[in-house]
Every structure is written in structure tokens, then in C-alpha cells.
Amino acid sequence: MIHANTSSWYDSLSQELKRSSASIEKVNRRSEYWRKSNLDIVSDLVQEISETDLINLKGTYIHEPELTIDGDIMELASDKSYKISSIMDEIADEDSFTKNYFGKLEEKSQKLVPRPLARDNSLNPKVGYALSLSESSKKPLVIHNKTNKSARNCFQRNLIIVKKGVEATIIETGNNLSVFNSVTEIYLDENAKLNYLDLTGENNIFPKISHKFCDMAEKSTFNHFGLRLNTKSTRNEIELHLNGPGINTSIANVSLINKKHHFSDENVLINHNAYECKSRQVFKSVLENDCTSIVRGKIYVAPEAQKTDGYQSSRSLLLNENSKFLCKPELEIYADDVICSHGSTSSSLDRESLFYLLSRGVHRNKAKEMLITAFISEALDEIEDESIKSELSNYIDVWTSSFFHE
């Protein structure tokens, strides 16, 4: 359904955002946040999607989806155990429940880091979902993405609200080449817990930027796991606001990239605004074939955020000479009673370990796969649900076995 209608609340919000847009630093090569990144996202608009582009896009974790986003069309499953609506419907609705939420986080996240593309998204959404979770569920909510050749260069906008004490898991799968810029605003009430697995983008050859902004209330939990399998040029920006005591969050990412000159660009900013909050960031990249992985992870600790526990680890495995790893693990700390640490290493496969495995008769490629699997296991350990973790591990194992060409 094409929407020409927008509500008055959206209109006035839109005007306000337009006005303040001028002060947001545009994407440019000299910017702290875009140096060395792939800037195709700004220039390469998709002209056409061919059949060959659609090959190899089916993605991981094939389970019954609650929602399928096909290009710019939303397909809700008939068995609606969740309250999901189309964001475009909500924007047109004067009494929408999203009224007090839409755009607030995007605006807030412009304070420390300029996010011009997120602003573009707020002003021009085309497709997306609004989801309010008021009941816990063990069964993951699967959102599957498909590509519709007729839709191109869409802005996807999502909104997720998790109510007090509710626990849920969302798994996003598939590939939507029609969308090149997505923003998801997430609000977690007190004691809410959201596990989010972003398994999209496998083999995606078009540039894409994906933003997630999350506001967290006291004692809430947000665990995000991202998987980048051979994305050509995908950029992720995640910003969290920890606004109450006792919050726990984990942001983990595994990037396995081995097609010539492909890119993985992860950017995370966690704002500790209250005391006794705990955050973890775990990034693992495995690169071959002249690929590049960029990780910009930052922890910001406000003066009130005493007893913060912030951990960050970004490690990369470079399997061929011209692969590159660029990392900026940042700390901006204004409280003294904190434990913050970050570690970053870059290396190639450990020769001693490799030799040991070979000396026991393990075939060379298999030995390398075993070491890669061991390498990324720390990030996979961030996934709480054992069955999901094991299913993903197996899928990734199959993936890594194709890594080395004989």
C-alpha cells in the first residue's frame, strides 16, 4: 500500500527534524566516523536488481517467519501471536501508539556522533514495522526479508517497544536488496529483556547502512548478535542509552568476509548514564581476499555512572596479506569508580596451533577451519539460547569450510 497520508504529529516532527538537519555533519572522507570506511553507501544508488543479484541470498536460519518484508511490502503471517503493524500505517494514524516514540532516539543519537543517513531515514520512510511486546515468549519472532525487484532504494523504519518485565527474542533473516538504509528504534521498559539476532545481509552486494538505537530503562537487558557473511559494503551503527541502574547489555558481531575487497564496518556507542550497568562488546572478524574490517567501538561513561563495568574486545584474523583491520576502541570516562577495559588484537592464524593440528594428521584446510571456529567462539558465546547458538554454529561451520580454496 502506498501512503500519501501522514498524520499531523508526523508532519510537525518532520519539520522540526528538517530544521535541525543542517547542523549534522555530512558524510565525508575526513570525518572521524567515516575515515577509511567504504563510502559507496552515499553514492551508489541501486539502478537495477537482476536475477543474478538474487542468487545466494536466501540467508541463514530458515524458520517460519511472523513477518516477511518483501521489498517495500509487508506480509504479516496469519497466525498473529504478536502485535505488529506497518510503520506507514502508524505514521498516518493520528492516535498511533508510536507517536511519543518515533524519531526521539534518532534525534538523541545525533548528539555525540553525527548520523546524517539516519536523519534522511526519519524524513522519508517507505516500509517497516512497529511492534509492541507486552507478553513474554520463548519462541523467537522471526522477521524474514526478501527482495522485490520493483522496489529500490527504500528507507526502512522500525519501532520496537518491549514492555515492563517482558522477555522476547527477535531474529531477522534474509536479504532485502530493495532497502539500503534502515533505522530501528528500540525502547526497553524496566526489567524488559530483548535478544536480537541480525542475520541479514549474507552475500549482499549492494551497499547498506543499518542503524539501531536503543533506550534502556532500569534493569533491562539488550543482547544483540550480528552476523556478517560476505557483505560487500555493509555498515552498522548501534547506539545504546543506559538510563537506569542495573542494566546489562551485550553487543557481539561476527564478520566472515572473503570476497575481493569486501567490507565490514561496525560502529557501536554505549552511553552509560546510570550506575551499576554492565556492557560487553565482542567483535570478531575473519578476513581473506583483500577485505577490510573496521570496528569503532566506544564506551561513554557519564559522571553519575559509578560502578560501570564496560568490556570491549575486538579481534581480527587476517588470512591473506592485503586484508586490513582498522580499529578504534574508544573510552570517554567521567566517573572514577568504574572498570572499563578494551582489548584489540590483529594477527594471522597462529602457526604453532596450526602445526600442532597438522602433526596429528588433521588436513590443512580442516585445521584452519577449526582454528577459525575457535576464534569466533567467544562472540557466539554471547548468545544465551543454546539451540539458536548451536544452529548458528553449524551454519557458520559450513560457511568456513568454503573459506579456503584448494
Binding site: N322, I333, H342, G343, S344, T345, S347
Partner: protein, 506 residues
């Protein structure tokens, strides 16, 4: 005037109120009352020419300065997100000040104004040569105590006052003199290397320095020579409202070694003063330079009034195979510090090490760190940075480790730790790691912590006063860096650490 710092339960208010402000304890805050000659206020081509003339420089030197000046006019002062630098009016400064009775360079220390010598004596810097007291004291070269000889070049307001041990160094072939002298006596050496490590175009302050530098130290160690003693330059800013621009150039030829110490202080004043220095190190095959700095410029009073703005560009070019450089610094002074001693590791197997303690208290701001650029094969770098932040200070470590595409088998290890005292200060880490070669191994670790309450309690329970306990613990935190300093500097550094933290507790 103490602000409303959050007072922890363990500390009683009496302790707080008896703590002196940093302003009072900066014991180098005295100024020397001597007649000083100033150039006219402001900076323009005439001033540049004046500086060159006053130093009797040859034309090629003046041309070099003018080139830099013309370039500088087109540049803009850099803007760093985490430093709040007030607008510096470059025209409202003197760019040249010299003790009046130094129109003619003194030929020996006997000719130097005794008031100047007294200044250095007050600072504890020995300028008179320590001659062997024949027959009384047996000089023991192994003895690492006060009998150790250190050659000193004293620079008072950008003018080299004198250099000790010149003859002895000369017989070893070592050249250690002021750069103004070197320009005249050893022009070939200077021409060859000046600006080759930090070119005029490098950055705003380096460019300014190239135009208006007045003096600094020049060192040349010939092939195969291990410099027989440590060399040291002691910078003292005295004149009011004058910018200080020293230029230091050290060249270690093949197979040579030198250990160089740099110390700095300045009197307490209400206006801020600009210090923009450039240090260039050139290290050839198998050579090694060890460069240590204990910087204790006036940091401003507890309200941030006055204090030195310290913007320094220091770079070591490890050109030769197996060349080595070690930067060790203890930064406790200056209102604003902006410095990144760097190493360019060009030669295969070259190695660069960086050890730093940066302490900020009250309203100080420091944005310091290092850049290690790996270009050659099998190059190695090691960074250990300890930042301590107290009061309302902001302390940032900014580092870059860049491993080039052809830099095979290179290794980097970085450890940057921050210690926060009190909840009104900030400690930040902004490291950039760029690995462009798969055979390289880069490891980076950073931690942030506070002075451990249990440790503090333990010390106090054993009768150590709280401030002393904090100093003790902080010294422990900095141990690895302190151990890298030459012995006398290490002791001075430890004392400085304690002094710099006064008033920080609570």
C-alpha cells in the same frame, strides 16, 4: 576555592581544608628579575627577519623561516574535540625575548649573568662542571649516584645560556651545542637533517615553530660512538607573555648511542603562555637514541588561570636497519598539553618504544599519546601509557598504530591505563589501530580504574597519610614507566607525581 567535590566517607573535611592548592606548591613558580630585551609585539615577516638577524643566521636559514611563515599564514589552528583551547591571539605575543646582557653569546659560564646561574641552581640544575676533586674522591664510572656526569645545555627564554662538558664531548667526537651555534658551525649537518623528520608542512604548530624558533639543542653522535655521558637540556621560560619555540635536532649516526634528557619549568603567571616546540630525531643503522622528558611547566592555578599551553611535535625517524628509539615522558605540568612523540619505523628490524605518565589535576587538559608508523619489515613497537586524572582535569590518550602493507612480521603491543581520582575529572582513550598486513601482530589493551579503596585503607591502616598513600599507589601504577626513566629523572618524577596530586584527594 574548593568546589563541591564529592567527599568519600573515609576522608574527613579537615584533610580537605589543609590541602594546599597546586598553585602554592609549584615550587618553580618564582621568576628571575633580570633585564630582558623584547622584540616588538606580534608576528609578521619583520619579526621573523629580526629573529634571524639576532641569531646571525646565514641566508639559507632565513629563507627557510620565511617559507614556513608564508605557509603558516594560510593555516588554521587545529580543533580537537576533547580539548577546550581558548582562542589564542597569535598577534598578542612576543616572539623573541632575550636576557639583555646576552647580546653576545657568553664564551664560558663565567661570563653568564650570575642571576641566571642562580636560577638554575634553585631549580637544582648543576651548571658548573663537576671536576674530579683530584686525590680526594675517586671517580667511579660504575657509580650511578650524584657523581654521574651529565652534560647540560641550559636554555633560558629560548636562548642557550651555556653548555657544559663541551670539551670532553668534543674529544669523543660528539657535537652538543645550541642549534643557533650549529647553524653557524655545522651548516652542512643542519641543512641535511633539519626539517627532514618534521617538515614545515606537518602541522600548524610545527609550521609556526619553523618560522620563529630561536634556539634549542643540537646533537650529533658520529659513527660508532657511544656518547660518554648523558646529555640534557633544561628549558626555563621566564619572560612574560612570550611564546617559546625551541627546535631540537639529534642525529645518531651508524652504530651510535645517546641518552638525552629534557627538563622544563616556568614561573607562575596570570597569563597563559604558548610553548610550541619541535624535536627531530634521526637514527641511522644500528644506532639508538633514548629521549626522556620530565615536563613540569606551570599548570595554571586551581581555577585554570595562567599556565603554559604546551603544543609539541616530536618525531623519531628510525631510518637505519636495527635502529632504536625510546621515548619516555612524565608530563605533570602545563595547562594544556598536546603532544604525540612518534616513531616512523622505516628501517628493517627497527624498534620504537614509548613510555608515558601524564598527570592532570585541577583544570588541566592533556591530549597526548604516540604514533607508531611501521613501514619496514620485522619492526617492533611498544607503548605503555599511564594517565592519571584528578580534580576537574581531562586526560586523553590518543594513539595511532599503523602497520603498512609491506611491513611484514611487525609487532605492536600497546597498554594504556587510566586512573581516575574523584568524580569530576575525565579519562579518555582514543586509539587508532590500522593493520594493513596479515603477518603483523598488533595487541592493544586499555583499562580504566580508580585508586583501590582497599589498597588505600591498607596503607592508611599502616600509618601512612592519605595523600602519601595515594602517591604511593599511583607510583605503583606508574612503575613500569618510571623504571624506563634514567635514574635521576625517575626520582624527580616520583616527587613530581606526589606534588601534582596534592589536593586531588576527596
Amino acid at each position: 576555592m574548593t568546589d563541591n567535590y564529592e567527599v568519600r566517607d573515609v576522608i574527613d573535611k579537615e584533610t580537605l581544608s589543609t590541602v594546599k592548592s597546586v598553585g602554592d606548591t609549584y615550587k618553580y613558580g618564582f621568576s628571575t628579575d633580570i633585564e630582558t630585551e623584547y622584540a616588538p609585539l606580534g608576528l609578521n615577516e619583520d619579526i621573523v627577519k629580526l629573529i634571524s638577524k639576532k641569531n646571525n643566521e646565514p641566508k639559507w636559514m632565513l629563507d627557510w623561516r620565511l617559507k614556513a611563515f608564508n605557509r603558516w599564514k594560510k593555516l588554521k589552528q587545529p580543533d580537537w574535540a576533547l580539548l577546550k583551547i581558548p582562542e589564542i591571539d597569535f598577534q598578542d605575543q612576543y616572539y623573541y625575548a632575550r636576557p639583555a646582557n646576552m647580546k653576545e653569546k657568553p664564551k664560558s659560564l663565567d661570563e653568564v649573568d650570575p642571576k641566571l646561574l642562580e636560577t638554575y641552581s634553585k631549580l637544582g640544575i648543576p651548571l658548573t662542571e663537576q671536576k674530579k676533586l683530584a686525590g680526594v674522591i675517586e671517580e667511579n664510572p660504575e657509580d650511578k649516584s650524584e657523581n654521574r656526569k651529565v652534560a647540560v645545555d641550559a636554555v633560558f627564554d629560548s636562548v642557550s645560556v651555556g653548555t657544559t662538558f663541551k670539551e670532553e664531548l668534543k674529544s669523543a667526537g660528539v657535537i652538543f651545542c645550541s642549534i643557533s651555534e650549529a647553524i653557524k658551525e655545522y651548516p652542512d649537518l643542519v641543512k641535511k637533517y633539519l626539517g627532514s623528520v618534521v617538515p614545515i608542512s606537518d602541522n600548524f604548530f610545527a609550521c609556526l615553530n619553523a618560522a620563529v624558533f630561536s634556539d634549542g639543542s643540537f646533537v650529533y653522535i658520529p659513527k660508532g660512538v657511544r656518547c660518554p655521558m648523558e646529555l640534557s637540556t633544561y628549558f626555563r621560560i621566564n619572560a612574560e607573555n612570550t611564546g617559546q619555540f625551541e627546535r631540537t635536532l639529534i642525529i645518531a649516526d651508524d652504530n651510535s648511542y645517546v641518552s638525552y634528557l629534557e627538563g622544563c619549568t616556568a614561573p607562575q603567571r596570570d597569563e597563559s603562555q604558548l610553548h610550541a616546540a619541535v624535536v627531530e630525531l634521526v637514527i641511522l643503522d644500528e644506532a639508538e637514541i633514548k629521549y626522556s622528558t620530565v615536563q613540569n611547566w606551570f599548570p595554571g592555578d586551581e581555577n585554570g588561570v595562567g599556565g603554559i599551553y604546551n603544543f609539541v611535535t616530536k618525531r623519531a625517524d628510525c631510518r637505519g636497519r636495527n635502529s632504536k628509539v625510546m621515548w619516555t615522558q612524565v608530563e605533570t605540568g602545563s595547562a594544556i598539553t598536546w603532544k604525540y612523540p612518534s616513531c616512523v619505523l622505516k628501517g628493517d628490524n627497527s624498534s620504537g618504544e614509548f613510555y608515558s605518565i601524564a598527570i592532570t589535576n585541577n583544570m588541566q587538559q592533556a591530549d597526548t599519546g604516540t604514533k607508531m608508523i611501521h613501514l619496514g619489515k620485522n619492526t617492533n613497537s611498544r607503548i605503555v601509557s599511564k594517565g592519571i586524572s584528578a580534580g576537574k582535569a581531562q586526560n586523553t590518550y590518543r594513539g595511532l598504530v599503523q602497520i603498512g602493507g609491506r611491513s611484514q612480521n611487525s609487532r605492536n603491543f600497546t597498554q594504556c591505563d587510566s586512573l581516575l581520582i574523584g568524580n569530576k575529572c575525565g579519562a579518555h582513550t582514543v586509539p587508532y589501530i590500522e593493520v594493513n598486513n596479515s603477518s603483523a601482530r598488533a595487541e592493544h589493551e586499555a583499562t580504566t580504574s580508580k585508586v583501590d579503596e582497599d589498597q588505600l585503607f591498607y596503607c592508611m591502616q599502616r600509618g601512612i597519610g592519605e595523600e602519601d598513600a595515594v602517591a604511593l599507589i599511583v607510583n605503583g601504577f606508574c612503575k613500569e614507566v618510571l623504571q624506563a626513566l634514567p635514574m635521576e629523572f625517575a626520582m624527580e618524577a616520583q616527587k613530581l607525581v606526589a606534588i601534582s596530586l596534592e589536593g586531588s584527594v576527596g
